[in-house]
């Protein structure tokens, strides 16, 4: 005798309904912003794609048309719902809204759209690498709040060693610094089972304090220790000749290529290899792996170290990929944005890359806006990336599921 128990019948989810409603209201809200704020400036906006070609969009009609479309989509979402297409609709709507915003800002003038997108990709580098560091840790069950500190440490080591021995040594030094800082996290979180969030914060403040102190006491009197020749963009043969995309993706520094490689490699390893299976297992239910003879402690140590190296590399981006020097608190919270990207990207490297690009775009737009005369105070523009973070993490991610054992110390005897 056997009994069939149906466990697949759906349970009504209030959470999903609420989220669907929020998305509907957001669309209507964007539509209204579009109608009342963005449709206020006449004139054409020019977006330069390549040197010889600029697209002109009429700002006012574009904003009005978008307003109507957004309100209509919002209404459909509220009354019928797009179901599984909700995210696609939302992404297209938000994307178009961003274009309308740029049209409004650039009306009567023009700017290089390609340059802005290139900037987006460049600026997403430390966020992507920081987020991968976060994913590697959290997937193995260790919460890594210390990404900010690891980026900052990497930036410092990259600047000093890069100045003394050249950029390649700078990169290696930055990664070593990241490993060193993550080793502190590993020992306290894994061996001594201290609360991982608290250790992470301690490392952030330690890193900020130490690098600021050394910058003031050592780098200021010895400017020769703080001047690096950064990596210059490398144009990939053939690919860089493609219009727009060639500039955006294939005329970049080493850091962009490495960070994309890091996304591909970490995804493949996490989902296709023995290491990945075990890593995900110890992040979800370490006892299950432990009772099958997997050495949970060793694997956690190793993954936290690797994560530190990745974050250190991300930190090296500042001196070696952009400005060629270290300044106090040069990372300015990017490590926390990376943490948001981990959640937004649902603990998946590709998701994290997407999130990093969104944050990179908001930074790039902020830079462009401060050059255009829009009337928006520049202080407000500085807030933009963080506002985007809040909205994205709080509103649109829905409830994403963290690795179950993240934050819990492993005790083999339990």
């Amino acid at each position: 005798m056997s009994i069939a128990v149906d466990t697949t019948a759906p349970l009504l989810s209030l959470e999903q309904k609420k989220r669907a409603r929020n998305v509907g209201f957001s669309l209507v809200f964007l539509g209204l912003v579009s109608a009342f704020l963005l449709a206020g400036r006449p004139g054409n906006a020019g977006f330069k794609l390549v040197d010889s070609y600029t697209v002109f969009l009429p700002a006012q009609p574009f904003a009005r048309a978008l307003a109507v479309a957004l309100v209509a989509l919002g209404a459909i979402q509220l009354f019928r719902g797009f179901g599984k297409w909700t995210n696609v609709v939302l992404a297209i709507a938000t994307g178009t809204f961003v274009i309308a915003f740029l049209t409004w800002a650039a009306s009567g003038g023009s700017f290089s759209l390609t340059g802005m997108l290139q900037d987006t990709v460049t600026r997403s580098v430390p966020i992507t690498l920081g987020a991968i560091a976060g994913i590697l840790c959290e997937r193995s069950g260790v919460i890594n709040i210390a990404i900010e500190g690891q980026l900052l440490g990497g930036a410092f080591a990259g600047a000093v060693l890069g100045s003394l021995y050249g950029p390649w040594v700078g990169i290696v030094g930055a990664m070593a610094m990241g490993v060193g800082l993550s080793a502190i996290l590993a020992v306290f979180a894994i061996r001594f089972r201290v609360d991982q969030v608290i250790v992470g914060f301690a490392i952030n403040f330690f890193s900020l304090g130490l690098t600021s102190f050394l910058a003031q006491r050592v780098l200021t009197p010895h400017p020769e220790y703080n001047i690096v020749k950064p990596f210059t963009p490398y144009a990939v043969p053939l690919l860089s000749k493609i219009p727009v995309i060639g500039v955006v993706l294939f005329t970049q520094t080493l850091f962009v290529y490495v960070s994309i490689l890091a996304v591909v490699v970490s995804t493949w390893f996490l989902y296709r290899t023995r290491w990945g299976l075990r890593t995900r297992a110890i992040g979800e239910y370490p006892q299950a792996a432990g009772t099958l003879g997997v050495d949970v402690i060793k694997l956690r140590y190793r993954n936290v170290w690797i994560a530190g190296a990745v974050a250190g590399l991300g930190g090296a981006w500042w001196p070696l990929g952009t400005v060629g020097r270290f300044d106090q608190n040069i990372t300015n919270g990017r490590g926390f944005i990376a943490l948001a990207a981990v959640i937004f990207g649902r603990w998946h490297p590709v998701g994290a890359l997407t999130a990093a690009l969104v944050f990179g775009l908001s930074e790039a737009i902020q830079l462009k806006m401060s050059n255009l005369d829009t009337g928006i105070p520049s202080e407000f523009l500085l807030m933009a990336p963080y506002i985007v973070t809040l909205i994205v993490v709080a509103g649109f991610v829905g409830r994403s599921r963290a690795p179950k054992a993240a934050g819990q110390a492993y005790d083999a005897s339990k």
């Binding site: 009994i3 299976l277 239910y285 409830r399």
Partner: protein
């Protein structure tokens, strides 16, 4: 393969968990290890599985001593274990869980997941376990999850399979299927250790029964020649009564009336759906069901710990759907919660403090904002002796007492006043046989004094023995109301699994 434990002793600070334990297991044999909670069964098995290092003694396989420093060593020596709490990663597929730790791989550690699937299918077919290698664990019923655990053990070619309380989470029909699997394993030449506290099951499946008490093997019995009460006496160390003595209920007016009650969780999922029933004065109504079918949420809604999303609850005709727990308590409702550690007791507070936890604010125990500890201590002394709470003193932290004595503290606090309704969830979970007897008799006594009693338990035998009327919950609904004297556990088990004895599917 012959497995032998010789003189195993394992000490923890303050306790000797295993005291010179000797056991032997031959191939093709089922050894049942039986004992109360805290008798040292789990510690012994952790020693065998390399999770603990014994302080003294040896593990021998075919006569040669082994040193296990981790589960990996035990697995390599041919020992497999199915833990009480399944060691399965909920978001992984069956195949991923099965191969974890022994993954078939290629270059760079690339996982051959097709090979893993094939391995699962092969074992599943060989032992007719009927498993889909691509199913995700969290979507599977516990009975199927247990079969995944068995495949894990078989894949590692375990010669000795240890099952730790394997039937605790199963429905009666799943238990029968499980016993079939055990028989297949044994006939394939493997040895099985079956750890349990259920006497009937040990008698049914075991070739030999070893009884453990306070860390020692107090005897081995032949199931063909032993009775339940004999074994129970060995477990507890004194004669125990295994049946519940009660007269016919003299039923009075309706006390608890539940109409159309619906309860949701924080995510908006429905756990209790339009449930209606009454409990009358002087009767015990039991709620049976497999864990996770809404019983927890039902009790939380009745006691005011969770908001009702719809419907009404009334006590003696007064609506209390929106009353808080203290108001309900003052209207004569007692609550023995299912999880002592989280709900009924504050582990760090003393026995005396826990005993007045629900009434320290009464005039009897307080003058304004000051608690009258003398009065509280006096009542604590009375209750400790009346309810036979074994504690070094009333100042002892309640968290250090045994499960049975913790439960007695709750029972004493909740039942030692005039009541209209007693709600008891899993009243004997983790409680030793001796205390079970006592708690059951208190509950029956409460009924006989005219209180309405609602018992919620996943131990089918317990609810059937205690109740005058039996409700069965399945997926948040009451799917049957039965007379426990007129149905068999098998029939109730069918309702618990969502079907009916005539084969139709409920709800």
């Amino acid at each position: 393969m012959k497995l032998e434990l010789r003189g195993i002793t394992k000490r923890f600070p303050g306790v000797v968990a295993n005291d010179n334990v000797n056991l032997a297991l031959n191939t093709g044999e089922v050894l049942s290890l039986i004992g109360e909670n805290g008798a040292g069964k789990s510690t012994l098995m952790s020693v065998l599985y390399g999770m603990y290092k014994p302080d003294e003694g040896d593990i021998l396989i075919d006569g040669s001593p082994q040193v296990f420093t981790s589960p990996a060593d035990a697995i390599a020596a041919g020992i497999g274990m199915v833990h009480q709490h399944f060691m399965l990663v909920p978001v992984f597929t069956v195949a991923e869980n099965v191969v974890l730790g022994v993954e078939p791989t290629g270059a760079l550690g690339r996982l051959h997941i097709d090979e893993a699937r094939r391995m699962v299918r092969e074992i599943s077919d060989k032992y007719s376990l009927d498993l889909d290698p691509d199913a995700v664990i969290e979507d599977l019923p516990v009975g199927v999850q247990q079969r995944v655990e068995i495949v894990k053990v078989l894949l590692r070619d375990a010669k000795v399979v240890v099952f730790d309380e394997p039937t605790a989470v199963l429905t009666p029909s799943e238990i029968i299927e499980f016993f079939e699997i055990v028989k297949t394993l044994v006939s394939a030449g493997r040895g099985v250790v079956f750890i349990t506290h259920k006497l009937k099951e040990a008698l049914k499946i075991a070739d030999r029964i070893a009884v453990l008490r306070r860390g020692k093997v107090v005897g081995e019995v032949d199931p063909k020649a032993a009775s339940e009460s004999q074994i129970a006496e060995m477990m507890v160390g004194r004669p125990v009564k295994l049946t519940v003595d009660k007269d016919t209920a003299s039923v009075g007016d309706v006390v608890l009336k539940v109409s159309d009650l619906t309860v949701l969780d924080a995510d908006g999922r429905t756990h209790v759906e339009s449930v209606s029933f009454d409990v009358r004065a002087g009767e015990i109504v039991g709620v049976a069901g497999v864990q996770g079918n809404g019983q927890t949420e039902l009790v939380e809604a009745l006691t005011g710990l969770r908001k009702a999303a719809g419907g009404t609850i009334s006590l003696d005709g007064k609506d209390l759907t929106h009353s808080n727990p203290r108001e309900r308590h003052q209207m004569g409702m007692a609550h023995i919660p299912e999880d002592r550690q989280r709900q009924g007791l504050v582990g760090g507070l003393s026995v005396a403090e826990n005993l007045v936890l629900t009434r320290y604010h009464d005039d009897q125990f307080s003058h304004g904002v000051i608690v009258d500890w003398d009065a509280a201590d006096a009542i604590a002394d009375t209750l400790i002796s009346e309810y036979d709470i074994r504690t070094p003193s009333k100042e002892t932290g309640v968290g250090t007492l045994s499960g049975g004595n913790q439960q007695k503290v709750i029972v004493a606090r909740e039942l030692s006043r005039d009541l209209r309704l007693t709600i008891a969830a899993q009243p004997t979970r983790g409680v030793d046989v001796g205390s079970i007897e006592y708690i059951h008799s208190r509950i029956v006594k409460e009924r006989d004094s005219g209180t309405a009693v609602l018992i919620v338990s996943t131990e089918l035998e317990e609810v059937m023995a205690l109740s005058d009327r039996l409700l069965v919950m399945y997926r948040g609904r009451v799917v049957a109301e039965l007379d426990p004297k007129k149905v068999t556990p098998m029939e109730v088990g069918l309702y618990m699994a969502g079907s009916r004895p005539d084969g139709a599917v409920v709800a």
